[in-house]
């Protein structure tokens, strides 16, 4: 097929898609909404941001202009607004992708039923659906990313009342000072708080300080190791500080696998390591 013929075929398939979409508009919208409501985060989103009838009609018209008149500008603009909105109200990336893809899940089976005896048209319309969705994902995605970056740049680190012992000391950087005896239950509670804090503060380095923990035996060491590994799964580098020489000996003798963990003697050294990882100064230079 020549390029011109292929472009014409695409435009014709797009118009075909519009005819079907227009004809089934009511059902499609109802079914898509119902499917989306099954996801709790999206249901909450839909409750908060119900489009008005005018808004629905306006966006439907933009889609028509794109598919029928091959006039994509306004529709793309509307998609970018959507992306910016998702970023602003805090929809997570995977969730909005799911919401957009829902259209395909609802349209495709109907199209197949309708055009099952016209294979060329069927292939054309399914291709048009794919192009339509891919365009939406792409435009929304770029706008989402740009807006997210802008929001994060604006956000202040508000150190409010923390119910956890996790201290956000600087951007991207948390310290968890552990004090006292650590049993399994406490270890799990602390780990959970720490991981939530990594997510909330976007920490890339975490210092776990055990200076205040009297006995670091195999059980505690295993908890520490697990916590450190969990931090890594969330993209944060763990640094263990405050292991006394005695405790270090115990660990080695017990054969605890600490190979992957950055271990330093004290908090100051830990902060130095952290600044290396983050690539910038975290403590003021001291006079030598």
């Amino acid at each position: 097929m020549t390029e011109t013929a292929s472009r014409d075929a695409s435009k014709s398939a797009a118009r075909d898609l519009w005819d079907l979409y227009d004809r089934w508009y009511g059902d499609i919208t109802a079914e898509t909404d119902a499917n989306l409501r099954a996801v709790p985060e999206i249901a909450a989103l839909m409750d908060q941001h119900q489009p008005t009838d005018e808004e629905r009609a306006a966006s439907r018209d933009l889609v028509r202009r794109a598919l029928v008149d091959d006039e994509w500008g306004p529709h793309l603009g509307s998609l970018r607004q959507q992306g910016a909105m998702y970023a602003t109200i805090g929809v997570s990336f995977g969730v909005w992708v799911q919401a957009i893809a829902a259209f395909r899940a609802v349209m495709a089976p109907r199209v197949v039923r309708e055009l099952h005896d016209e294979p060329e048209r069927l292939i054309g319309v399914l291709g048009a659906i794919d192009r339509f969705i891919d365009t939406a994902l792409g435009e929304i995605g770029l706008a989402y990313l740009d807006t997210k970056e802008a929001i994060i740049a604006e956000q202040q680190l508000a150190i409010g009342e923390l119910s956890t012992p996790v201290l956000p000391l600087a951007e991207g950087f948390l310290v968890l000072p552990l004090i006292g005896l650590i049993d399994t239950r406490r270890a799990r509670d602390v780990a959970e708080q720490l991981l939530n804090a990594i997510r909330d503060w976007r920490a890339r380095v975490v210092i776990i300080d055990v200076t205040g923990v009297p006995a670091v035996d195999t059980a505690v060491a295993n908890h520490l190791l697990q916590t450190a590994q969990a931090c890594r799964l969330m993209g944060a580098t763990p640094i263990l500080s405050g292991i006394s020489p005695t405790n270090a000996q115990t660990l080695v003798q017990l054969g605890v696998e600490m190979a992957d963990l950055l271990i330093v003697g004290d908090l100051r050294r830990a902060i130095e390591q952290a600044s290396l990882v983050l690539g910038r100064e975290l403590i003021p230079a001291t006079a030598t």
Partner: protein
């Protein structure tokens, strides 16, 4: 023996067969919902659902079909959830070997049983060759 009266509105037991991957997902969702109704926190919900995923996958992969029961648990004032997974599969020949913790030697991607045991508070397994395997595990609210 008088059974303790069920608390008003407490979720009741759920049971269904396990035969395919779709049932693994269903088991995860069901136990998550029931545990959430019982008041478990977010992290524990994930941990319980993961343990259920491991043992039901075991059934689908090795025994081809089985049965799962999910219900609230009570014991001297504490509350939790108990999951029982039964299958009529070939049974586990060497239970000790199967339950060996491959964790430290990095062989933990085999049977999900030792893993599930680490995630839950109580874990019991009974297995006979040609008699199938029953895993009973419980997580208590902290």
């Amino acid at each position: 023996m008088n059974a303790a009266p069920e608390a008003a509105g407490e979720p009741s037991r759920i049971e269904f067969p396990i035969a395919s991957e779709a049932d693994v997902l269903r088991a995860r969702r069901s136990v998550r919902e029931l545990a959430q109704d019982l008041g478990f926190g977010t992290t524990d919900l994930t941990i319980i659902a993961t343990a259920v995923s491991e043992i039901t996958r075991n059934i689908v992969n090795y025994a081809t079909h089985g049965h799962i029961t999910i219900e609230p648990a009570h014991d001297r004032g504490r509350h939790g959830v108990t999951v029982r997974a039964r299958d009529e599969g070939p049974g586990i020949d060497d239970l000790d070997l199967a339950m060996q913790d491959g964790y430290s030697t990095g062989r933990s991607l085999g049977l999900g049983l030792p893993g599930a045991r680490r995630l839950m508070d109580e874990f019991d397994i009974v297995s006979t060759v040609d008699g199938g395997t029953t895993v009973t595990m419980t997580k208590w609210q902290r």
